[in-house]
Amino acid sequence: MPIGQTLPFTAVRWDDVLFVVLAIMLLGSALLVVTMRDIIRCGLAMIASFASLAGIYVLLGNPLLAATQVLVYIGAISILVLFAIMLTQTKNAPTRLVFQTQAWIGAVAAVVIAAIIAGTVLTTTWPSTGAVAWTATSDIATMLFGQYVLPFEVVSVLLTAAVVGGVLLARREPPADKEDRS
């Protein structure tokens, strides 16, 4: 049975309902990320915010980006962050004080940034078409491996360098070398 464009018995569109639900999930979990006391729970809330952002990408007609968001952010970056949390947690670390002493300045700065962005967005008339344009994956592939092939190659070199650099930085020093290696 096909589902209609609108909610039954009302004129509310499904897309709007999904947008509101996903936006509330996104902002709520992002707020939990920056305010919760237990940092592992912050990491889990971050996964929830990434997932709701993937849903918003689907609403924007971009399934490839949604899949990439799930694979890269939820699958790789979140796991990396959770590993780093578990490697750097100490039992005697002070967990009472989550925020710095100047946190209220940061809060003021964040409110000012949000107000500036919202004011700018709402007072500007964008050249918007007023409807979401679906992005075909084959179009992205054609453009990525045609016009944008040089940035693609540069990014692959950057990723290689990042992997080597990450291993080198996080590597444990070899214990008690015989010769002096300074």
């Binding site: 952002l53 924007l60 990439t68 780093a84 750097t88 989550v98 700065a109 409807a131 950057l158």
Partner: protein
Amino acid sequence: MSNSLDSYLVLSGLLFAIGTFGFLARRNAISMLMSIELMLNAVNLTIIAFGAFVKPLHVHASVIALIVIAVAAAEATVGLAIVIAIYRNKKTPLVDEYDSMSQ
């Protein structure tokens, strides 16, 4: 609502502001890195929203967002490796205790 560019841009602005607050206010270095990820996600949402609603940017935006995601992954790798390396020396993940230069 889901058919207007403004709502997506305001949403990404709010997400960016939340990330800014987390970066400025949290003491834990990994929390700060998570806030940076939130800000990068907000920027990506802006790019995708422009790509979906503005005709000349249509496919370009997706490619740019993919490249941003790759660079964000590289940044997370190196940033977390640096945090772990510092933790090994200082035995704390809190950034306000990295005060060797003021002593």
